[in-house]
């Protein structure tokens, strides 16, 4: 059976990461499984973790108040769920729930933040990787805003 560091090494987010960093990150990691429709976190909750999705699909929803819940994104295998752990005040902006059984590696945000503070090179590496994800999400959101398939 593949151990935690092996799983982490094979996740696209950790591609080409220095072995020493991988070892440090493994210390903050745990294996998690969520059943279909189970809630991973709710809007406003403390963002204590982020997830490396291994299998299954997670839906991110925003509460539109009188408009009801609006699903804005799904996240699947090989992707990262959650960046609020890295940005103060560490609170979730969306609700996430499993659309099917989800297997993931959960990374403890506080644990990793402390390691990043202690080793700025690790911190910079993490920030570079998250900046890439944030850029992708921002571009996707802009595309969604353009509403290119809108009825005329």
């Amino acid at each position: 059976m593949e151990d935690l560091s092996g799983i982490l090494r094979n996740h696209p987010f950790m591609k080409d990461l220095d072995e020493n960093y991988l070892k440090q990150i493994t210390g903050c990691a745990s294996n998690v499984v969520y059943q279909e429709d189970e809630v991973l976190f709710k809007e406003g909750d403390k963002a204590e973790k982020f997830y490396l999705i291994r299998s299954g699909k997670v839906a991110l929803e925003i509460n539109g108040r009188d408009k009801g819940n609006l699903r804005i994104l799904t996240i699947g295998p090989g992707q990262i769920l959650g960046w609020s752990w890295i940005v103060s005040p560490y609170k979730w902006h969306f609700e996430a729930h499993a659309l099917e059984e989800v297997r993931a590696i959960a990374l403890d945000g506080e644990c990793l933040r402390n390691k990043c503070e202690d080793d700025p090179k690790l911190g910079y590496e993490m920030l570079k990787r998250f900046a890439h994800i944030l850029e992708q999400r921002l571009q996707s959101t802009r595309m969604q805003l353009l509403d290119v398939f809108k009825r005329v």
């Binding site: 699909k57 839906a59 991110l60 929803e61 009801g68 819940n69 609006l70 699903r71 804005i72 994104l73 799904t74 699947g76 295998p77 090989g78 992707q79 659309l99 099917e100 992708q136 571009q139 996707s140 595309m143 969604q144 353009l146 509403d147 290119v148 398939f149 809108k150 009825r151 005329v152």
Partner: protein, 296 residues
């Protein structure tokens, strides 16, 4: 002189596609066999030759016809049926303007004019042995449907086959029954995403390019075909290149205001090319420099 030019051009067109047999400026009468709505604003018309219902239509996947609503006008519409099925022809049409609105009101037995087929086709022959990645958005699935039929029919001649399809909402997904059957019957990775949905949708949500994260193909041996709104194609091409697919292996289908469909009138000029005659399917490497010029 003009007649000579016309004759010369007709001959050229015949040489290129081998399909146009009569004067390409004169429409032929075709009869509506069936018309049905795919979504709230997209419908499909099935056409047969008026009075010669057994006569075959010939076209290549990716080509388009000029459909003429008599007394109203013509519109360039991609052919969306299986090119090997003879006798009738399907066009899936987005009701967006005056002509397409008139076409949407047609009934069984009504007659319209048809000129075509025109334009270039999807490069399927020299893609044999390669992985195929098709990225489509909205009505862009329709012009690629004949290519998909071809690949599925000759499935063993191609490598991994991926179809990524983005729609606005779950209600806007075209050909949902057929998509489901392709997934069940064939060796195809089919991923569908919508830009927005409520909680009842169990599939992907997000722009179509995000689906590339789930694709497992060899970028060094992949032929990509992209069709949809131009801004979507721009992002899709950028993502394909980021994933390592070579520009020369990426093909896009462009849309412009086509009038004559023969490269005479110049309405669809796109830099040094005419979309009607040199396109609508272009190798991205041929249009790279002008693809991002918004005025074009």
């Amino acid at each position: 002189m003009f007649l000579n030019v016309c004759k010369h051009f007709t001959k050229m067109t015949e040489n290129k596609s081998g399909l146009i047999k009569s004067d390409p400026m004169i429409p032929e009468s075709v009869k509506v066999k069936k018309i049905f709505w795919e979504t709230e604003d997209v419908f499909t018309i099935e056409l047969v030759y008026d009075g010669e219902e057994k006569r075959n239509f010939n076209f290549k996947p990716g080509q388009f016809n000029m459909l003429y609503a008599f007394g109203v006008g013509e519109s360039a519409i991609s052919i969306s049926s299986d090119s090997t099925k003879k006798g009738s022809l399907l066009h899936t049409i987005h009701k967006v303007g005056y002509v397409t609105s008139e076409l949407s009101k047609l009934k069984k037995g009504d007659i319209i004019g048809l000129r075509g087929p025109f334009g270039s086709s999807w490069p399927l022959e020299d893609a044999k042995g390669k992985d195929i990645c098709i990225i489509v958005g909205g009505i862009g699935l329709a012009p690629l449907r004949p290519a998909i039929y071809h690949i599925l029919k000759h499935r063993k001649q191609y490598g991994k086959f991926t179809l990524l399809y983005g729609a606005r909402t779950p209600r806007d997904i075209l050909y949902p029954v057929e998509l489901e059957s392709w997934k069940k019957k064939y060796d195809i990775q089919l991923e569908i995403t919508v830009d927005r949905s409520d909680s009842t949708w169990r599939g992907h949500v997000g722009v179509v390019t995000t689906l590339l994260n789930y694709v497992d193909c060899n970028p060094d041996n992949t032929r990509a075909m992209v069709c949809g709104p131009e801004i979507m194609m721009k992002y899709a091409v950028d993502e394909l290149i980021k994933h390592g697919v070579a520009e020369k292996e990426i093909y896009v289908s462009l849309e412009r205001n086509m009038k004559c469909a023969l490269g005479f009138c110049g309405h669809c000029q796109y830099g040094p090319s005419f979309v009607c005659k040199d396109g609508p399917v272009f190798s991205f490497s041929k249009v790279t420099d002008i693809f991002e010029i918004k005025e074009l």
